[in-house]
Subunit: 346 residues, 4 copies
């Protein structure tokens, strides 16, 4: 019963098979190989336009490099106060961005609201050169709370950002989970509603270590190759990261993997709700946040359930309860859900 | 006939098998897994002492993070002028080191000499705070010229460095190639002769993407975990990078792979020498540098031989010749050597 | 009627006289002069212990260099959300600190409370290496709200900081204003209650451009000379910055200048209170924050009064009012106060 | 007999008078004052075009901020190997430039030659993204060797730079000394021959602490105000730095001051030459480099002469000699020259 994170899952078999399959003969390094050329074309297909795509091994690299590309050192990246870039990357965006500033906005269910964004932006301007300058908006899709921005919500935020000349970044570590829930196309939830750069994750979705930075305007990507190399994020045997992404995107595999993860979260949420343990935020991706009595938490842990207790700045939990995060993945089995749910019954 | 780089080779089958084998069940991310614990112990065995080891996906990351750890921003890293950190990493050491300075020393066959180091150091001191401060020495083993520092040579350089309180770093992207040639132990050519931190490469030797930063004094490694994470170089599904290194180091596999690569270089060098094309530097690892007539270069390229032409600041080549670098690897076959050599015959 | 800032004031005549007096003959540059040696000794007297003191031309440099010295790049500086370092230095601390993070705490009247600090610190720990690490506390004395930390308040905050190994920095841009109000010694409100490094400002107090970074433990100041030089903050004709500070500190001049500024603020506050315009925060230094009807604001501006309207995250102002900041200085005349106050009468 | 540096001189009396004169009443801070507006207009007159000018307190700040503005982090600044930015600024350009790289070119008499520049540039290109990218050329006028680039020499270098899209920076710490020797206009030796950005120094020429960064195309200066503020280099009582520059430039004072300094160097050089101590490089500004017997050096030092012994990478000095640098300034008296010269006689 491992619900600790989607990165505790193994590699999806078809993706690992692709790695093995790629292990034939010699190939030029650093992306000058057939696999990389193929995935570059594939990204253009997936997003229905020319894109500039760069593969990197981690989500932190993907986010930090992308943000550094669109934000000057005296710039502010507006993000959710609970976003991964703000809380879990040990300051990587500030490091890659030469001291840029992240400003965390609150917002229900991990989502930034248009009003919240407007209010934050209203605090800037007219105090140059003493004040830093809002330069980018970063939203997470799906969010760290397991919720999903609707297409019109993204468009609203992006429009507000555009009015102030902010670039718009999407942290898509769980992009596929959002996509399949929205029943939309990749284009529809990215550049068509105002996203400039996407950190497109495959690792949590089933790859070994494969993330892509996708620029929807290749001019914005100028010298990003140098930036990536300089950050140590250009893999030498590059075919293997490209092969992972190719397999992930082939035959709608990424969608199928995400659908399974989401379905397992739905099943878990439904069962918990049925016994009075309603998730605290809408379960729209593969994360379930629920308040458990401490006694139940202890029982579950004792029985081998693996998950993290989370703090919350906004929820009132009470001393006898804990807020827990349950993450499902492509690898989560129905029987794990059943076993967990049964343990929750008294 | 691919002699372009050792990173054009595929993954050694046993290492890929280990990846596949690791793909069972769930495992905590970020290095909290059994594979990582095992490789940490294994490094201690290999080096015959407690070490602090950190895995990263690229050699550039390994070098730049290691140097940033032992060099302040106002510090100088003395290195060979043709070293990888100086010429091929797009300024990664300067980036990770917050603007530290690399100073390249010349030296025959890619090696820094004790006299060269002393002369360079003599130029510093007595001009604080206007002048940057020599803080680290970085040597490459095997060097980019395919030569190898002898144990006593390393000890001499390290002793000079120690007198000026410099940390000593070894870029060991081809560490195994050097090791098997010297017939020494890993301890003997590192901490026992004064190395403080080693960038221990496995990728060129046969891994997919696996490099380790090895600190021989764990106090020097303080907060290196944060530095790595902040650089985006902490892999989430960490078991797979650990599994690569475990397989690389198991059963003396790394030594066998390196011995083969070196043997192929030896064979190539001997054959070329036999026909009057003597390598310009001693062939001690898996690189052969040789001056070819342009007409032969064209013939080889036309026949499908893949390698890079190099410039040299010190060698006189002449207008009708080119200096070429031929790199062998664990995957180089004898028949490739034979075919190449035959093409060199008129 | 200039109440815009204490930096709109000219230079105190005695300090300018000292500049003119220093303009005799040759003197070695970069601090190797008699004036600098004298001010270094003087700081030791003033603070009743050996200190390491470094002069710089701006308060932003002083703060940013000091914080960078005591905070690693993955560190957090906890400060008040309205502090100068957080809102008015265009990210200088993040730049000099290679991407360190400022975290702003709320707190009444510009002051961080012990409980607020404890609560903030409780949010860190146990999530290494993903989370940044609280590394320094920065408090402002006097605060941007014109209030003053009592000695025991500083000691309480410093004690909490010490328990978590945080360095404690004091932004003393208005250090003298606080000192004379507290009727304490410089030692008592700094190192004796736990301050590690002080940004000691003289510019707002009457100098031309003179700020000092004072380390109370010289080991903490290691290589700060290089850091300052590298930041471009080591003046070549250094005697003139030293001469300013010498004159500022001579004959208790700094205290007299600050007492006058504070007295003018007191007089202004008393008069405004008398007519129902009570300052919103205690007037303890040389700043008066008061809510004015917009109609009065317009009248004052029309009459030539110069001051800034401020926003406040916590105060409810109402649409017909504005919050204004009135700053007095050594140069503020009683007649300016009288004229302003008279204008406030209907 | 102080020939240590032009920054050991005091402030020229007329400039100090201007400081005293500026000390009237209140003035808005941070450059929103009449003096600053006047100097901005004055720079446009001096350079016969619209320029964007920013005042900073040190030459190191001026150089480092200017170079960071025109060079990306993965960029190379080509400069003379003996230039101030390369040897005396403790890595400030690398710090402000987020790890950019300085590459020092050799060249006779402190000057970069067109051929030297071409050769250096030929080593770059075709190896993206592994190699850093030449992005700026920095030349020093007058050079650290006391020589001067002729207008056509600057134009040749700038033309070569332009072909490779390099920005061209001039370190004009001794700009006036060069200008008066060349009998040219400021425009002729800057933007008219291809300079993009000038670090225009007044401190060495007679100011207290006043340097200007001059952009000849204001678009290149975008957000330079933020960069300066973020670097802590925006003075709050800004009128005093502006007043210095106004006085420096008024009534051709800067030219007169520089002419005197140059004349003293000429006189010294002529006298030394007359007694067989010919300067090693042409004396074209206010620096005289001469090889002295050690015994004479000792005698001069004993008699109170103040100057620095310099090393040289290219000159053969011999064990019984030293290379010394003698710097004259506006404040150097003829009698000092005479006394020094007399001491040189046996």
């Amino acid at each position: 019963m491992n619900f600790a994170s989607d990165n505790t899952a193994p590699v999806a078999p078809a993706i690992l098979d692709a790695l093995v399959e790629a292990n034939r003969g010699f190939a030029l390094g650093y992306g000058n190989d057939d696999w990389t050329h193929a995935i570059e074309r594939r990204f253009c297909e997936i997003f229905e336009r020319e894109v500039a795509a760069f593969l990197v091994p981690t989500g932190t690299a993907s986010n930090a490099l992308a943000l550094a590309q669109v934000t000057p050192p005296w710039g502010v990246v507006l993000c959710h106060s609970e976003s991964h870039i703000a809380t879990d990357e040990c300051g990587a965006p500030e490091f890659f961005g030469n001291g840029l500033k992240l400003v965390g906005l609150s917002g229900d269910g991990g989502k930034i609201s248009p009003d919240g964004l407007k209010t934050a932006l209203a605090g800037y301007g007219g105090h140059s050169p003493h004040q830093v300058i809002p330069s980018a908006l970063s939203i997470t899709q799906a969010t760290e709370a397991g919720t999903i921005y609707r297409t019109n919500e993204i468009a609203s935020l992006a429009e507000i950002a555009r009015m102030r000349s902010l670039a718009v970044h999407m942290d898509g570590a769980r992009f596929a989970n959002a996509l399949v829930r929205l029943n939309a196309t990749p284009a529809e939830i990215t550049w068509r509603c105002g996203i400039d750069v996407l950190s497109f994750g495959a690792t949590k979705g089933g790859a070994l270590a494969a993330e892509a930075v996708i620029f929807f305007d290749s001019e914005v990507a100028a010298f990003f190759g140098e930036r990536r190399k300089r950050g140590g994020h250009l893999l030498s045997k590059h075919r293997y990261i490209a092969a992972q992404f190719l397999a992930y995107l082939a035959d709608d595999r990424w969608l199928a993997l995400a659908r399974h993860a989401n379905a397992m979260a739905d099943k878990l949420a439904a069962a918990l709700t049925g016994m009075g343990l309603r998730p605290v935020w809408p379960v729209e991706a593969n994360l379930v946040f629920v308040v458990l009595p401490r006694v139940l938490d202890a029982k579950l842990k004792a029985a081998g359930a693996d998950y993290y207790v989370r703090s919350s700045g906004t929820l009132q939990i009470g001393p006898d309860n804990v807020l827990v995060r349950l993450v499902t993945s492509f690898a989560t089995g129905e029987e794990e859900i059943d076993r967990f749910v049964n343990l929750c019954r008294l």
